[in-house]
Symmetry: C2
Subunit: 362 residues, 2 copies
C-alpha cells in the first residue's frame, strides 16, 4: 500500500475557526512535513460557498504552492470539476501545475454533487454526466494533440494547440472520482482510467463489489491487470493514547457532519435521475448516523493507537487489496496543527513501514 494525505477544509473562519490564511499556512507546513516523511501524495478537494470544502474553490491554486514547497510528494486534485471550468482553462491550468511540480501531478476529475454549485455556474444537474464526459475527453485531447478541433455538445473550438503541454507523457495519470456507482466504475475501468473511490458511507461489500467491477472492466478492456491505481480515503486520528485519538476523531467528525448538513440541504427539494438517492443526503450526515466507535469498527475511520491502526489496515488490505493507495484525511482545520503533525509522524514511524510499497508509482 501507498499512503497519501488528504486535505478537506471544513472551517469557515467564524467562532475561532481557522481563517483562510491560517488554513493555507498550516496546510503548507503539513505538506512540507509529509514530503519529508515520505508520504506518497497530497490531495485536495474542489468545493464552493459552504464551510464544507469551501476554502478550496480552486485546488490547483493551493497545490501549486504545495508543489513549490515540496520535492517528492505527488500532487493530486481530488477532484477538480470539469463541468464548472472551460476545458481550455482547465487543461492549461493543470498542465502548468504538472510542469511546476516537475511531473508530480495526479489529476482526479469529479462530477460534483452539490446542487448549489451547479446552480451558481448555471449548469443543469441533469447535464452533469454529459459535461463530465465531454470535458474530460477535451482535456485529454488538448494535452496530447496539436491543432485540435473540438466539436462537442457544450464546447466548440479550434483548431488550437494548447500550451503548455504536460511534462508527464502522454499526460498525467487520470483518476475518476466515484462514489461506487457500478456503471461509473465499469466505464472508468474500460477507459483505462484510475479510480478515486469516495466510500465514506458505503459498506465493505459495496466497496468490494465496486472494486471488482472496476478491476474486471480494466482487465477485460485489455489494460494490464495490476497497473490500475485505486485511491481510498479514510479520516485518520492516531495517538499513543487511544482515548485522545477517539476524542479528536469524534469532535472532527461531528464538525464535518454539521458542515456537510448545510452544504447538502438543497437535496431536500432537488431530485435528479442522474443522482439517484441523493435526495436522502439532506437528512443523512457524515457517518450515516452511525456512532463513531461503530465507524471505527467497520474500518470507515482509522482511529486509535499505531497498533490499532495497523490492525485496521491489515483488514483493509485484505478486503480491498494491498495495492491500493490509502488516503489519510487529516486536515479539516479543526485540530491544532501540532496534533496533525504528530499524527503523521506516528503513522510514518509505526504504521506505514509494515505496509510499505516501494515500487515505483505505476
Amino acid at each position: 500500500m501507498k499512503f497519501a494525505i488528504v486535505f478537506f477544509p471544513t472551517v469557515g473562519g467564524k467562532n475561532g475557526e481557522l481563517t483562510p490564511t491560517q488554513y493555507y499556512d498550516d496546510g503548507l507546513a503539513i505538506a512540507e512535513l509529509a514530503d519529508r516523511l515520505g508520504y506518497f501524495q497530497l490531495k485536495l478537494v474542489e468545493h464552493y460557498f459552504f464551510e464544507y470544502g469551501g476554502y478550496s474553490p480552486d485546488p490547483t491554486t493551493f497545490l501549486a504552492a504545495v508543489a513549490a514547497r515540496t520535492s517528492r510528494l505527488r500532487i493530486a486534485t481530488g477532484a477538480v470539476i470539469p463541468a464548472f471550468t472551460h476545458p481550455v482553462k482547465m487543461s492549461g491550468q493543470l498542465a502548468m501545475l504538472d510542469n511546476i511540480s516537475g511531473g508530480r501531478l495526479d489529476v482526479g476529475f469529479g462530477r460534483a454533487f452539490l446542487p448549489d454549485e451547479f446552480d451558481a455556474f448555471g449548469i443543469p444537474l441533469d447535464q452533469s454526466r454529459a459535461r463530465f464526459d465531454e470535458n474530460v475527453e477535451a482535456c485529454l485531447r488538448l494535452w496530447t494533440e496539436d491543432d485540435l478541433t473540438w466539436d462537442g455538445t457544450f464546447h466548440q473550438f479550434g483548431p488550437v494547440t494548447m500550451l503548455p503541454k504536460p511534462t508527464q507523457q502522454p499526460h498525467p495519470p487520470v483518476f475518476v472520482a466515484s462514489t461506487g456507482n457500478l456503471d461509473s466504475c465499469r466505464t472508468a475501468g474500460e477507459q483505462g482510467r484510475n479510480l478515486q473511490l469516495i466510500a465514506s458511507v458505503a459498506t465493505r461489500e459495496t466497496i468490494q463489489e465496486a472494486l471488482g467491477v472496476y478491476r474486471r472492466a480494466w482487465a477485460q478492456a485489455g489494460h494490464t491487470p495490476g497497473t490500475e491505481r485505486i485511491d481510498l480515503s479514510f479520516p485518520c486520528f492516531i495517538d499513543e493514547d487511544r482515548e485522545a485519538a477517539y476524542r479528536a476523531g469524534e469532535y472532527v467528525e461531528r464538525k464535518m457532519s454539521e458542515k456537510m448538513a448545510s452544504a447538502v440541504s438543497a437535496w431536500a427539494t432537488v431530485k435528479s435521475d442522474q443522482y439517484p438517492g441523493y435526495e436522502r443526503l439532506a437528512s443523512a450526515a457524515v457517518g450515516n448516523g452511525a456512532a463513531f466507535d461503530e465507524r471505527v469498527k467497520n474500518n470507515k475511520v482509522l482511529a486509535g493507537t499505531p497498533d490499532d491502526v495497523r490492525g485496521q489496515l491489515a483488514d483493509i488490505a485484505e478486503w480491498y487489496g494491498d495495492d491500493i493507495t490509502v488516503g489519510l484525511s487529516v486536515f479539516s482545520g479543526h485540530l491544532p496543527r501540532a496534533d496533525v503533525e504528530r499524527g503523521l509522524e506516528l503513522f510514518a514511524k509505526h504504521v506505514a513501514p509494515t505496509f510499505a510499497d516501494d515500487r515505483e508509482p505505476r
Copy 2:
C-alpha cells in the same frame, strides 16, 4: 518610483527554447532573487495557444508557486481575463492566492485582444467590454458581500456566499489593464481603480494624455489625489557593457516580435468596433517597426549600462510622474537565467536606489 519585474514568456519549447518546466523553474529562481533584492512586485500575463504568452494560460497557478517561495514581493496578475473565467471561479481562485500570499496580491483585470482566444472560449469579441464590466463587478461583490444575488446579462446566480474571502480588506487592489484608450482610462479613474498601462507602442504624448485623463478623472470623482497606482512596463536589458545589453535586447525584441506576429495574425481578417485599429496589428509588430536604438532613445525600452538606464528613468519620472511603478520586463525565456539575474542585481544595486520610493504601497 517602485520597481516591479514582469514575466512574459515568448518561448514554446521547440528549437532549443525553454520547455515549460524549465521556464517555471527559472522563473521561480528569478522570483526568489527579486524577493531578496527588494523588488516591489512580480507580474505575469494570461495568454493561450501561441508562443506569445502561451506558457501562462492561468497566471494564478504560477503566482501561487511564487507566493510560496517569497515573503515580501507583491504578486500581480497582469492581467487575468474575466471574460474567459466564470466570476465564481475567478473570485475564489484570486481570493485563495491573496490568502496564500499573506495579502500580497494585486489584481490586474484585462479585456484580452487576441481573436483566437475569444473564439476558443466561444465569446464574441463584441461582448468583450460588457463581459469585462460585468465580471469585474461580480468579482468585487463576491469578495465583499455575503448572500450575494447576481442578476447580470451573462451570469445569474445566488444568493451565495463566496469562500474564501480575500485577506486584504475590503479586497486586493484592483488594476484595469489599458492600452491607453482615453475612455477606459477615464472610467478606471472615476471608478477608483488603479491602472496597468500597456504602452509598448504609444508615443510619449499619448501616454501623457492617457495618464492626465486618468488622474483627473480619479481626483474629480473624489478619490484622494496621489493614492492612485499606475504601472508602466518596459523591456529592460542592463549590462556593464552597453553593446552586450543592446545585443541581448535586439535579440529578445526580435523574438518577441516574431511570436507576436503569429498570435495577432487573426486580425488580418477580423474587425470589431470594440477594438478600433486592431486590424492593423497583423501587419505591425512589437516596436511598430522602429529600430531598437530608436526605441531606446524614445524610452520605450530600457537598455544599456546602469548609468544609461538611470538617465532613461530620470526622463520617465519627469514625463509620467515619479510616483509610478516601473515594471521591468526581463523574463521572456530567451536569455540565460544567469544573465537575467545579473541584470536584476545590477539594477537593484546601481539604479533603483536613485529613485527609491520607500513609502508604503498606496
